[in-house]
Every structure is written in C-alpha cells, then in structure tokens.
Symmetry: C2
Subunit: 294 residues, 2 copies
C-alpha cells in the first residue's frame, strides 16, 4: 500500500463537505414539503452556518450547520471539521477503540476529518438520528470510522427495519462480514450502561477500518453516507404528517434526556471534542433542544 498522504486527506475532507451539502439540501426540502399540521405555519427551517475552530484556529476547525425551530426538525446539527496537531494523552485514549493509537508512538501528530450529524425532530413519531463518518491519520496509519443509528422515541418496527436494510445495503456492497459485525458493534456502543437500555434501535458502528485498501475503505465510508442520505429523509417524510399526542411528546422529552446522558457520559466523539478543545457549541450540538428528567 502506498503511503496515505495529502491527496487522500483532501479527497476525504471534500467528500464530507459534499455529503453535508446534500444532506442540508434534503432536509431543507423536507421543511418546504411540510405544509399542513402542527408547526407548518412556521417559516420553513433553514440551516445557519458558522465556522468553528479548534485551539483558537491553530488546530484546524470546521463548519457547524444548524437548523433550529423548523416545521419538522426541532434542532438538527451537521458539523464538518478537519483538525490536526499533536495529541495529548487523554484525547488519544478517547479517539479509538484500541488501547494504542496506531502509528502514533514517538510522533504525536494527527489529522482527522469527518462529518457528524444529530437530528431531533418535532414529532415524537419521527425518529431522531445520529450519523458520523470520519477519517483519521497519524504518521504511521490511516483509518476510517463511523456509523449511523436510529433513535425513535416511539418505536415503529417498519422504520427500524428500513433503516437497518439501508445500512446493510451499504455494508453488503463491500464485505458480507461488515453488517453483522458493525450492527453488533452499534448495539454494544450505543448502550446506556447505567440504565441497562439501548439508546435507540441501533444501526451500524465501525472504527479502525484500515483493510490495506484505502480506496475501498473510503468507498465504503461514502456508501454509509449515501445510504443515510437515502433512508433517513424517507422515514422522516413517512412520519412527519402523523398526528401526535401530548403523552407522546412527554415520552420524547424523557427519551431525549437518556440521549443527553449517553452523549455526555459515554460518547467517544464528545469526549474527544471536549478534550481537544474544539468549539464547545459544535461538540455539544448533539444535545436535544429540550429534555426532561421528571
């Protein structure tokens, strides 16, 4: 394998930007399409973009795109970032599932680029979702990680099945072993240990993906993004027109509290972001617009 260098980094970073643009356009189109029912009298939601910096800009940064108070999306954030520098030891520990960071011994430089998305919906019948893919580089290694998981407030089996089918499709196109492995990893990762419950209904989670064929690993990571882009807007359009009750809204607010607990206590990306000094607004964009612990 040739060394992974600037060309690959640029292609990955460019893809995350392109995916962000396509997702934002798809979500804004959903806002436009919502013309009746609760909140349809609001202006169609639009993303606002804001540059974010790490370590005052010396360590890279990104762009945070947030749509707040829309007709369908109560709060959705799509962050892209490209960060680099030298990694302090605590951040190294939260950066990978492995105990040791590949290729980092003796040279603490790193580079990372990725996209991260969390959507909290108005309707308790429309599932919340999380998607994140990223490329990591150290002087001796390069790998991909990411995944997507569905977080329904009220589980609807059809939606769960379709979401998993989409993730399976992205996986199966590359390696038949991926879906079972990455589904199991999501089930393990997105688990709220102190409550003994899953955060949602799962999806896929992968990390440390470096098969030796960077092109193939990059293509897989792109396919995960494309699968998300196809299935999530479908689920949203399917559910956004359904009426909901106050009791369902209460369930949603309580489940969002669980979601906040997971992200603040367990989520590795959140820890990594807070520990490496990225914009706190961007790192905590994932937190729900409103939550209850009654």
């Amino acid at each position: 394998m040739a060394a992974i260098g600037e060309a690959e980094k640029a292609r990955a970073a460019f893809w995350f930007e392109e995916l962000r643009d396509r997702i934002c356009a798809a979500f804004e189109a959903i806002e436009d399409a919502r013309t009746e029912g609760p909140f349809s009298d609001l202006p169609a939601g639009r993303f606002e973009r804001k540059a974010t910096t790490r370590d005052g800009g010396k360590g890279g940064g990104g762009v945070m795109s947030v749509m707040r108070g829309g007709r369908v999306f109560e709060k959705v954030g799509v962050n892209i970032s490209t960060v680099y520098g030298e990694l302090a030891e605590p951040a190294q520990r939260s950066l990978t599932a492995r105990k040791e960071i590949p290729g980092l011994s003796g040279d603490p430089r790193f580079w990372a680029s990725g996209i991260s998305l969390v959507a909290h919906m108005r309707s308790p019948r429309a599932p919340a979702v999380h998607m994140n893919t990223r490329m990591f580089w150290t002087p001796g290694a390069a790998w991909f990680g990411g995944g997507a998981d569905l977080n329904p407030m009220i589980e609807i089996p059809e939606d769960t099945a379709d979401f998993h089918a989409a993730m399976r499709g992205a996986c199966d196109a590359h390696d038949a072993a991926y879906y079972p492995r990455y589904k199991a990893w999501a089930d393990e990762y997105f688990f709220i240990r102190h409550r003994g419950v899953a955060r949602g209904v799962g999806g896929i989670f992968y990390d440390d993906l470096a098969t030796g064929d960077w092109e193939a690993d990059f293509a897989f990571t792109q396919d995960v993004g494309r699968a998300f882009l196809k299935v999530f807007p479908e689920l949203t359009r399917r559910r956004m027109g359904e009426a909901w009750t106050d009791a369902e809204r209460e369930i949603q607010l309580v489940k969002r509290g669980f979601y906040a607990e997971f992200n603040l206590i367990y989520d590795r990306g959140t820890k990594f972001g807070l520990e490496t000094g990225h914009n706190v607004e961007a790192v905590l964009m994932s937190l729900p617009p409103e939550a209850k612990w009654p």
Copy 2:
C-alpha cells in the same frame, strides 16, 4: 484516636436521616406558604419517599425523597443512603480526591452514609441549590466530605452574599482556615471545564476530612447541614413571590442544561453512584426536571 466503629457509623447515619426530615419539613412549609402568584393554585407540594437499593440490596441502600411539581419547588430530591461492600477499582478512583483510598489497601471493604440534595425551582429568580454531606469508612480510616453550593439562574448578589455568610459561619465555628480553603475548593470543583464557566456562585466543598478528632469533624459536618437548613429556605422565601418573565425562564432552562452537563461529565458523586450500582433513579435525581440546549 480510638478506632471508628459501629457507634460512630450509626450516629452519622442517624444524623443524615434527621437532617433529611428537617429539610423536608422546611420545604413543605414553604409550599404551604405560597398562596399567590404563578403555580400557587397547585396543591402544595409534598415529598414522596421510595426505598432505593444498591446491588439489589446486598450493598445497602437508602431512601429517596422527591417532591415534584410543587408551587415553589419544580423538583427537589433529598436522598439518604448507607451503602457498604467491597469497592471495585474504578469506583475507588471516583470516591475521593486522593489518588489512593485511605485504609483500603489489601482490604476492599467500605461503608458510606450521606445525604444529598438538589433543588430545582419554579422561579428563575429563586436559586437552585445542591447540598451533600457524607461519612466514609474503610478498615483503616474514616472521613467526612460534603458541601453546599448555590446555583442561581439569575444572580442576585444579596443572595450570594447571604449563602456564603452562612457557610462561613459553619466553618468559622470550627477552624478559621476552613472557609477560605473550602470556598476555594468549591470554586475549583464546581467548574464546567469545557465551557470555562463556574456552575454557580460557589459555596463550600470539602473532602477527606479526618483531623484525628472524629467528634469535631462530625460536629462540623452537622453544622454545614444546619447552616444550609437555615439559609436556603430564607433565600427561597425571599424570592418566591417575585414575578418572572418568559425570557428569565429560558435563561433558567439553558443554565439547567449546563447543570446537567456538569453532573453527567464531572460530578464525582454521580460517577460513584453509577459505578457502584446504586439505583439510577436516585443517582440521577439531581438532573433538572426540564432543560434546554437551544
């Protein structure tokens, strides 16, 4: 110093229970006293008590007293617990400010009893508050810890000054060095590092208190509870009649989000509780009834 044994444990545990009773009575009296203004048409809030267990009851347990949806108190929890057993290593690390748990080497038994209180108020002009005192015992040592800190949503200097004066009073009666030391410790401890802001306006925080005179340390811990019991109801009665605006409520909900972040990311008592398998309801009682991350 004579070894600290069952008599001391029983006296400490009994005090925490007595303090709980007096605090609950004082808070219910405040509910009764609120007869005009927002939420005064609700029934006066009352505490509900529920037994909690650690490790299915094999490791002790406690009683959680929660008042929800009152006229003045939106949610207030007062937990007492007496737990014991053997400490796994991760829990040991979150149990004390010291790197090493005193008296634990070679014999992992521990015993702990304490009271923990968090009050979230209806009015954004009435400060939220946290108070906790506890006694810890290991085969070779016994110590006290605790403190109280005020968390106004809208800071009112008079309240801050009175709260600190009360805590200073409790400290000064025992050792002139306590207040400056424990105030500084609270400022350091109740700090939301990732946001670079204090959680509230401080108070006192102490841990590992074992001067060699158990009686004196216990008396100090009791005085911290008494000072809290005097000052906090005063502040609440002072503010509960004041009108507030929707904008002030929004500030409150956002500050409560910060409070939740602190407790889930940094709070040692929360970590200890979750890691040692105490009732998750009791451990997370501190979380706000409603919060926003807009």
